[in-house]
Structure formats: structure tokens, C-alpha cells
């Protein structure tokens, strides 16, 4: 199931890039949230970030997105050798949409990807473009639904489609599986697997669902203020650090 990883010395990847985080530290209000965080993300890789609530997962994402001041360095390297900032697609954590909000999927999408003011009638061309984007996540039928009326899985798919337009070099998903039922979860993970192969992009996601790690991820990073363990899912799930962070006597498969 898992795809072949790119070796560090191997040939560059097609357009996608490598993310290198070194000695990253983040402070907020005088207290340290993250310190000495270092890891690599290669293209075509799915990397899972795990850790208890408040471990700094969302802060790490926001830092990579450039929304938080930090110490240490975040380096990007594109296949063409340039270190220009890559495009990062971001799927935020369980965004709460007001159930009564009269914003349709089309409205939301069109507002994010075009300049056309969406309170005016939406041109056919723009509608077709949005439908095309939704097709990537098999969500064409959602186009006229209201954002607030979507199920957890449907909402994640719409947000994923949005993060893929324009096509990013790195895709970041903050707890994409929370609020999604079992079927939706598998559908979403299969989709991510398909996307990283088709577009050769790196995926970094945070999750509390350890049962799916082995099947879907190449690398797992255990984070609690700092990187406690990093390696293949098997390695991390059986590590001493994992057991002590989650207070488990038996390591595997537990939530």
C-alpha cells in the first residue's frame, strides 16, 4: 500500500519540494510552545504528526504557514533547486460553519479562487471551474449545498479541494479525521493517497487515529513541545516515548 519513499540522495522530484525544519522554536506570551523541533518532509510522502492535545501541532502548522514568529529555520527546496517559498495548501482544523450560514459550497469556493464578487450572479465559466475542482475529491454533487449543511466528511473534502486549488507543493491538514465517520475516514485517506501519487506532493497531517497510521503514512512524528520520536509508524507506535506520552501499557492500535 505504501509508496516508495524518495531517498535523500535520490533524483529530485517532479516540481514538488522538500521541507526541512531545523531547531524550530516558538514562544507565545513568554512561554515556550515548541522547542528544538527538527524534521524533514520529502515529496510524495505522507507524514503524520501525533501528540496529545496542546502538544503544539497546530502551532507547528501555523508556523510552517508563516503565520507565527519563530526561531530556528524552515527551509524549502524545490526540485528545480530554487529555495523560493512553495505553495502550501492548508486544510484547517474542524472549521465550524454556522449551520444557518447561507454560504453555498459554490459561494465559498468561488470567493476563495476568483476575484468575482460572489454576491452577484456567478458566471457559468466560474461555476464550471469550481465543479472541476470538486471533481478531484469526488464532490461535484455538493456544489449547491450550504457549507453548514455538509457532513464532517463532506466538509473535509470540500476544504481539501480548496487546498488543492491552485495545486500546492505541500499539503497540510490539521486533524482531517476529527468529526468524520469511519466510511468518510477511509474515503478521505484513500483520496490523500491518490492525490500524493498523482500530483507528487508532500502531505503533512495531524491525527489522533493511530489505527490508520501503518496503512496510510510513511513517517510518523511524535510531538510534545519537541520531537519525541520520529520514524516509520511501526517504530514510533512501539517506542517508549509513545507509551509514556499516551500512558499506555500496550502500544498498538489504541486511541
Amino acid at each position: 500500500m505504501r509508496k516508495q519513499k524518495h531517498s535523500e540522495s535520490g533524483p529530485g522530484c517532479k516540481g514538488a519540494c522538500c521541507l526541512k525544519v531545523s531547531d524550530l522554536g516558538v514562544e507565545m506570551g513568554g512561554s515556550s510552545i515548541l522547542h528544538d523541533v527538527s524534521f524533514h518532509l520529502h515529496c510524495g510522502e505522507i507524514v503524520a504528526l501525533i501528540g496529545p492535545n496542546g502538544a503544539g501541532k497546530s502551532s507547528l502548522f501555523r508556523t510552517i504557514l508563516g503565520q507565527m514568529p519563530h526561531s530556528g529555520s524552515i527551509d524549502f527546496q524545490r526540485a528545480d533547486g530554487s529555495a523560493a517559498r512553495p505553495r502550501i495548501g492548508y486544510v484547517p482544523q474542524s472549521p465550524s460553519f454556522d449551520r444557518g450560514d447561507p454560504v453555498s459550497v459554490l459561494d465559498f469556493f468561488a470567493a476563495a479562487v476568483s476575484e468575482w464578487p460572489v454576491f452577484l450572479p456567478i458566471p457559468k465559466k466560474l461555476r464550471a471551474r469550481v465543479a472541476e475542482c470538486l471533481e478531484r475529491v469526488h464532490g461535484e454533487s455538493l456544489i449547491d449545498k450550504r457549507m453548514g449543511a455538509l457532513s464532517g466528511g463532506e466538509l473535509q473534502r470540500v476544504l481539501l479541494a480548496l487546498a488543492l486549488e491552485p495545486l500546492p507543493h505541500i499539503l497540510i491538514l490539521d486533524e482531517p479525521l476529527s468529526g468524520v465517520d469511519i466510511d468518510g475516514e477511509r474515503q478521505l485517506l484513500d483520496m490523500l493517497d491518490e492525490i500524493r501519487t498523482r500530483y507528487d506532493l508532500s502531505i503533512l497531517l495531524s491525527t489522533h487515529d493511530f489505527a490508520t497510521l501503518e496503512r496510510y503514512t510513511d513517517k510518523v512524528i511524535l510531538l510534545q513541545s519537541s520531537v519525541l520520536a520520529v520514524g516509520t509508524p511501526e517504530e514510533v507506535l512501539s517506542s517508549e516515548a509513545f507509551r509514556s506520552v499516551f500512558h499506555l501499557d500496550v502500544g498498538r492500535g489504541a486511541r
Binding site: 460553519f97 454560504v103 470567493a111 476563495a112 468575482w116 464578487p117 450572479p121 457549507m147
Partner: protein, 282 residues
């Protein structure tokens, strides 16, 4: 204005007869400009959950008038507009840079501004009664020049909507997502709250501070009961505000009651009716 007076002359009302009741004709034109303006802003006020903010703005807008009077401005409204804009900017800044809940920050700003207003107004033994007129408002006192100013405001807000609506909406719905797509959320919020501040300040003389917030909340609240997308939302909000405005003005004329209150009551009725039909949009 001559063209307008001629047009109104075609209406079958006694006050619409040529060469009479200019105050009523002015008021009608003002209502036709103000209500779509508030209907439009209303959609975003409700969407970004700023109804409490606009309420606070209304209650503190007289502070600006008081300060303007103190500084000896010929028209204290300009002082009030400046004050409201600064108030909105400061509020947005503090809200973005604190962990406090938004309603707490509003409470802090609102009470400070109201206290400052009362302090300035009563300074040196002054009487507060001169501000009483602002509380109820009187649209019949509107002058053609002020209608022109309102029309300019409407044009500015429409331009703002065409240029910045998408970014405003995304910032309101999901700030972090908007930020990740390169939208400068702080400035979007600041721009919008300043727009509300200026519109509330300019209109309060005619609508009345006590009810002005209803115009910023009710049209969109009713629109949300029915709308399935943003086009319908804007349509229901603007048309509702416009209809309630005209009906409110006419009712206040024939029953001799406050116009602001009449408009608000019609809007409340509009909300009640849409509420009864809300289930049908799924």
C-alpha cells in the same frame, strides 16, 4: 432634487402634491438611500457576528458628537466620524491581539466610550438633554445635502463590496483559512468595522441611536431564514430593508409616530414571517 420632487409628484399621496411637504419628499429619498445601505452592511454584520459591536458603536457614537462640539467644529458630525473610525480600528486591533472573547472586548470599548461621551457632554455643568434628539432620531429633518452625503456613502460601500466582498466573507467565515490564502484578515476586519462605524454615525441623527442597530441586524437575520446562497441572502436583506423603510415612513406619517421605530417594527414583522417559513429551504 428638482427631478426627484417632480417624480414624487406623480405619487397618489396628499403629501406628494407639487410645492408642498418637502420634508416628507426628502425623507422618502433618504429612506431609499439608507435602507439598501443598511441592508447590504447587515449581511456582513450578521455573518461576522458583529451585531453586538454595531450596537456598541451606536451607543457610543454620540461621544464623537460631544467631542466634536467640544472642539468647536461647525458640524460636530465630522468629529464623530473620525472618532467612530478610530474606535473601530482600536477595537479591531485589541480584539485580534488578546485572548479575551469578542463580547468582552466590545463591553470594554462600549462602556469606555459611553462614559467618555457623558463626561465630555456634561463637562463644566453642561446638560445632557441636548443629545436627547439623537436617541430617537428624526428623518423628517434630513436636508438634501445630507442625502447627497448618504448617497456617496452608499456608492463607497457598493465599491467596497465589489472589490473586497470575497475577502471580507472568507475572513469572517474562517480567519485562519483566509490567512493561509494570503488574505490580510486584520485589514479586512478593520476596513469593514470602520465602514459600519462611519455609516452608523452619519445616519444616527435620522434613524435614532436606540433603534439603529435593528437596521444592521434584522434585514440579514430575516434573509438568513430563507436564503440558500449569498445571492438570495443579499436580495432578501436589501429588499426587506427597503420595503420596511418605505412602509415605516408612510406609517409614521399617517400615525404620527417615530419613523425609526416604525421601520424597526416592520423589520421585526419581516423577521417573524420569514421565521415561519425557515424550514422550507433544506
Amino acid at each position: 432634487m428638482e427631478l426627484w420632487y417632480q417624480l414624487v409628484g406623480l405619487l397618489p399621496f396628499e403629501w406628494a402634491q407639487p410645492d408642498s411637504m418637502y420634508f416628507m419628499k426628502n425623507a422618502l429619498l433618504a429612506v431609499l438611500v439608507i435602507t439598501p445601505l443598511f441592508g447590504l452592511l447587515s449581511t456582513m454584520v450578521v455573518q461576522s457576528r458583529m451585531s453586538f459591536f454595531s450596537d456598541a458603536l451606536g451607543h457610543s457614537a454620540f461621544t464623537g458628537i460631544a467631542i466634536g462640539t467640544l472642539c468647536g467644529l461647525a458640524d460636530p458630525m465630522w468629529g464623530a466620524i473620525l472618532f467612530a473610525a478610530v474606535f473601530a480600528l482600536l477595537f479591531t486591533y485589541v480584539r485580534r491581539h488578546t485572548n479575551l472573547a469578542s463580547d468582552t472586548v466590545i463591553g470594554v470599548f462600549s462602556s469606555t466610550a459611553v462614559a467618555l461621551g457623558i463626561f465630555v457632554a456634561t463637562l463644566g455643568g453642561g446638560s445632557f438633554t441636548k443629545f436627547n434628539a439623537l436617541l430617537i432620531g428624526d428623518i423628517l429633518s434630513v436636508e438634501p445635502g445630507k442625502i447627497g452625503l448618504l448617497a456617496v456613502l452608499l456608492a463607497v460601500v457598493v465599491v467596497l463590496w465589489v472589490c473586497a466582498y470575497n475577502h471580507l466573507m472568507l475572513s469572517a467565515v474562517h480567519p485562519a483559512l483566509a490567512d493561509s490564502r494570503g488574505i490580510r484578515v486584520f485589514w479586512q476586519e478593520a476596513l469593514f468595522s470602520m465602514a459600519i462605524a462611519v455609516v452608523v454615525t452619519v445616519s444616527m441623527t435620522w434613524i435614532g441611536l436606540m433603534v439603529i442597530n435593528s437596521l444592521l441586524v434584522l434585514p440579514a437575520a430575516a434573509g438568513r431564514n430563507l436564503a440558500k446562497n449569498l445571492r438570495q441572502y443579499h436580495l432578501f436583506s436589501i429588499l426587506g430593508a427597503l420595503a420596511a423603510g418605505i412602509a415605516g415612513l408612510l406609517t409614521s406619517y399617517y400615525w404620527e409616530a417615530s419613523t425609526g421605530a416604525c421601520i424597526t417594527l416592520y423589520l421585526a414583522l419581516y423577521f417573524a414571517i420569514t421565521f415561519c417559513f425557515r424550514g422550507k429551504r433544506q
